[in-house]
């Protein structure tokens, strides 16, 4: 190969690689990206059954129920406008509490959210950005009540 041609081949190879990466990524994102929904979104019918997604909101006070097998819990997630029932089998993460924020990964089935994982809110200071606005609203609501 002549040096000139070699450079041409290399440059086109690099461009093709970048193009392939973008196409692959777009293909993957179309089928695999999961949306973040709040209970209000779900009430509005945005989520399809069986589609992988994340659900975020506050754990409704007094809603956490332990099932007899000891490792499954049911609870309600709320965003102040709507509620979504959630079922989770597993050890709930640190700082999972009634009245505090939670993000769950899973899918909707017949009106219930089946959670595969509950994302840990690992620190009092740490709040998933998606919940930031929600928490602010929550606080605002509380001060109004007072």
């Amino acid at each position: 190969m002549k040096p000139k041609n070699q450079r041409l081949v290399l440059v086109s190879a690099a461009l093709v690689a970048v193009l392939v990466a973008v196409l692959l990524a777009m293909w993957g994102l179309r089928s695999q990206a999961s949306f973040f929904y709040t209970p209000a979104d779900i009430a509005a019918g945005k989520a399809r059954d069986g589609e992988a997604m994340r659900l975020g909101g506050m754990v409704q006070r007094g809603s956490v129920k332990h099932l007899p097998d000891g490792v499954t819990i049911r609870f309600l997630v709320t965003d102040g406008k709507a509620q979504t029932p959630v079922v989770y089998r597993g050890i709930v993460p640190d700082l999972f509490r009634e009245g505090s924020g939670a993000v769950a990964e899973g899918r909707m089935e017949n009106g219930t959210f089946i959670a595969d994982t509950i994302l840990a809110k690992h620190d009092e200071r740490y709040m998933p950005p998606q919940l930031g606005n929600l928490a602010a609203e929550h606080k605002a609501g509380k001060t109004l009540e007072k």
């Binding site: 450079r7 970048v18 990466a21 994102l29 695999q32 990206a33 097998d69 640190d94 950005p129 998606q130």
Partner: protein, 644 residues
């Protein structure tokens, strides 16, 4: 006084960096005599940042609560080692560490690099000074680690307990050394583009830095993966968390650079290509720092939620990356093309390696940033996780692993021998492994199945470069390559085995009850309260039996008071053929305890593979240094005898 001394050292260092940059402009205009001054300034600048960092360590060691950062991130009752580690377990401290490493790397570049031309070295020192300057500004304006708290507090708020772990003490520094080591490659590339001296000499000067940074990144990622595995108590070793991706992306770019730089050093080819990769590798380090430090991600690690800092870092990133790419666009095309090579040659093999790594990097990059992009544009929130990365990057990684077995067999410039004659044995091993998985485990998923096949093939293929000659006389660098490539096979085997054969048990148990998981019978003995220096815990005593093996494990749930938080401390027992992983959860209303048990056959091979890959890098680095020494002393010997 100590905090003020640290701050003063930082300001001085920033001033020197600005001076160093001005001298670089002079040197590019032909003032050759500034060289010595620049070297000394770079060294003093490095020393000053070390002093600043030492001052930060001292205020943390003394729990000086009049320093705001100590108050926010430490407490007097913490074990000493975590007081020290707390110094970099927070935003400001970790950025100071970043800058310290950057400046010290600049100092070493000034002291050690005699292999490049003086002009390129001075330009590189100037580039390093500009990099440092931006981060000094960031520290001094937006994240001063030494700001005082008035009145001083009695005790601090404590360190995030998840970070109170030996892993924290070493994981971030290792990664940072890797990230910032790549800054030297970046600066050398920028310097060489400025002077136009992109040649094999430059590649040889750059190679130890790239190798060293790459070894540390490999170790950092491996250690981080193990830390997440045992500390988070979820039993997984890689979560495709954006922060993990932030460390993976520079590693992918550095891996590509590591391979292409050999082509430039040995054959003088792939000039523009290698410079581009050097720029990309450090750009990825900065992207990673931006992602982690700006706090725009949903992540365990992202604790700096502050838009001002995010904007500052983004601006720095845009300026540096933008300037480097502009320089590349102007100068890249004027570089003379290097030695030509045929389609079937070592060079081509390395180009293909680079292309696949680039595609993987692109896929990870897009997947990591896509949610941010979508949210900025449409306000819609979404997340991209393991399903995407496994489906898109997994097959590419397997394809790359197949080619890793072939590339090293090719000759430079032009391959005329029938290389594939050496491959039947590895190929046969791969097919046999595939056949075994099909016969014994017909229900296995496709990815682990392919993983077993490729691992078996690559384990054999990777050692082929040592056959057909006396392996003891092969160069150390060749051994390094073989060990690293063999490490890929080992890690792959661990991942495939973990994916295919892990058994999991989640149940409640009362004391005395027995649960089975995999080949193990696990009995809950009792659950007792216990306490450490700044935590209390409940500890479960588990007795596990398998045939004649009898072990006890003690997983805990710890409650920290400052800040208030619970963590699951898993208990793990390692055997030659796998790990038994246990977590204790909460007590239910009936008095039974939640237990989560895993048996993970050969999972340890994942990290053993990572360690082998890093060891391979270390052997190659040693080999290069040794050979240089040997050549150097032979040269002086030659001269001393009066031949030259």
């Amino acid at each position: 006084m100590i905090a003020e001394a640290g701050l003063a050292a930082l300001w001085l260092a920033a001033g020197l960096a600005a001076f160093q940059f001005l001298l670089m402009i002079l040197s590019l205009r032909g003032a050759a005599e500034v060289g010595r001054a620049m070297r000394s300034i770079a060294v003093v600048q490095g020393a000053l940042t070390l002093i600043a960092f030492a001052m930060l360590l001292i205020v943390f060691a003394r729990s000086d609560m009049s320093v705001a950062l100590v108050f926010k991130n430490s407490s007097a009752v913490k074990p000493f080692i975590y007081k020290l580690a707390g110094a970099w377990g927070n935003h400001e401290g970790s950025m100071l560490m970043w800058v310290t490493i950057l400046a010290v790397a600049g100092a070493f570049l000034a002291l050690l690099s005699h292999r490049t031309s003086e002009r390129t070295l001075l330009a590189a020192l100037g580039a390093q000074a500009v990099l440092a300057l931006g981060f000094y500004a960031f520290l001094l304006i937006a994240s001063n680690p030494f700001s005082r708290l008035w009145p001083a507090a009695l005790d601090g708020r404590g360190l995030n307990p998840l970070l109170q772990d030996p892993g924290l003490a070493f994981h971030p520094p290792t990664l940072y050394l890797g990230y910032v080591g790549l800054s030297v490659a970046f600066s050398l590339a920028v310097g060489a583009l400025l002077t136009g001296e992109v040649d094999s000499k430059l590649a040889r000067a750059m190679r130890p830095w790239v190798l060293g940074a790459w070894i540390l990144l490999t170790l950092g990622i491996t250690a981080g993966s193990y830390w997440a595995y045992y500390e988070l108590g979820w039993g997984g070793y890689w979560f495709w968390d954006p922060v993990e991706n932030a460390s993976l992306m520079p590693w992918l770019a550095a891996t590509a650079l590591l391979h292409s730089i050999n082509v430039l050093a040995a054959r003088g080819a792939l000039k523009a290509w290698t410079m581009m990769l050097a720029v990309i590798a450090f750009s990825m380090s900065m992207v990673g720092t931006f992602l982690v430090r700006s706090g725009i991600l949903t992540s365990v690690h992202a604790f700096a939620i502050d838009p001002e800092r995010g904007t500052f870092l983004l601006a720095l990133l845009a300026i540096y990356v933008g300037a480097a790419f502009t320089l590349f666009a102007i100068r890249g095309a004027t570089l003379k093309e290097g030695a030509p090579f045929e389609l079937v040659s070592r060079e081509s093999g390395l180009v293909i390696n680079n292309l696949i790594l680039t595609v993987i990097l692109g896929v990870v990059f897009v997947g990591t940033l896509y949610p941010l992009f979508v949210e900025a544009v449409s306000g819609e929130k979404l997340s991209v996780g393991a399903p995407y990365f496994n489906a898109v990057a997994g097959p590419l990684a397997l394809l790359l692993a197949v080619l890793v077995g072939i590339g090293p067999l090719l000759a430079w410039r032009r391959e005329t021998r029938p290389v594939f004659k050496q491959l039947p044995v590895p190929a046969l091993l791969g097919v046999t492994a595939l056949a075994i998985t099909i016969i014994l485990w017909p229900a296995m998923h496709i990815l682990p199945r392919l993983g077993f096949m490729v691992a078996a093939y690559l384990a054999a293929a990777s050692i082929l470069p040592l056959t057909g000659r006396n392996p003891l006389r092969a160069p150390l660098a060749t051994w390094g390559m073989v060990v690293a490539h063999f490490g890929i096979a080992v890690a792959l085997l661990g991942m495939a085995s973990n994916a295919a054969f892990t058994s999991e048990r989640l149940a409640i148990a009362r004391p005395g009850e027995i649960l089975s998981v995999g080949p193990w019978q696990v009995q809950l003995q009792e659950v007792t309260p216990t306490a450490g220096k700044n935590w209390t815990a409940v500890e479960a005593e588990l007795r596990a039996a398998r045939g004649d093996d009898l072990v006890t494990l003690a997983p805990q749930t710890r409650y920290f008071s400052d800040p208030p938080m619970e963590t699951n401390e898993s208990a793990i027992r390692t055997f030659w053929n796998g790990q038994l992983y246990t977590v204790v959860g909460k007590q239910d209303a009936s008095g039974a305890w939640q237990l989560r048990l895993w048996w993970k056959p050969f999972v340890t091979l994942i990290w053993a593979g990572g360690a082998l890959i890093a060891l391979g890098g270390a052997l190659a680095l040693l080999g290069r240094i040794w050979r240089r020494r040997a050549r150097h002393s032979a040269d002086t010997d030659f001269r001393r005898r009066g031949y030259a």
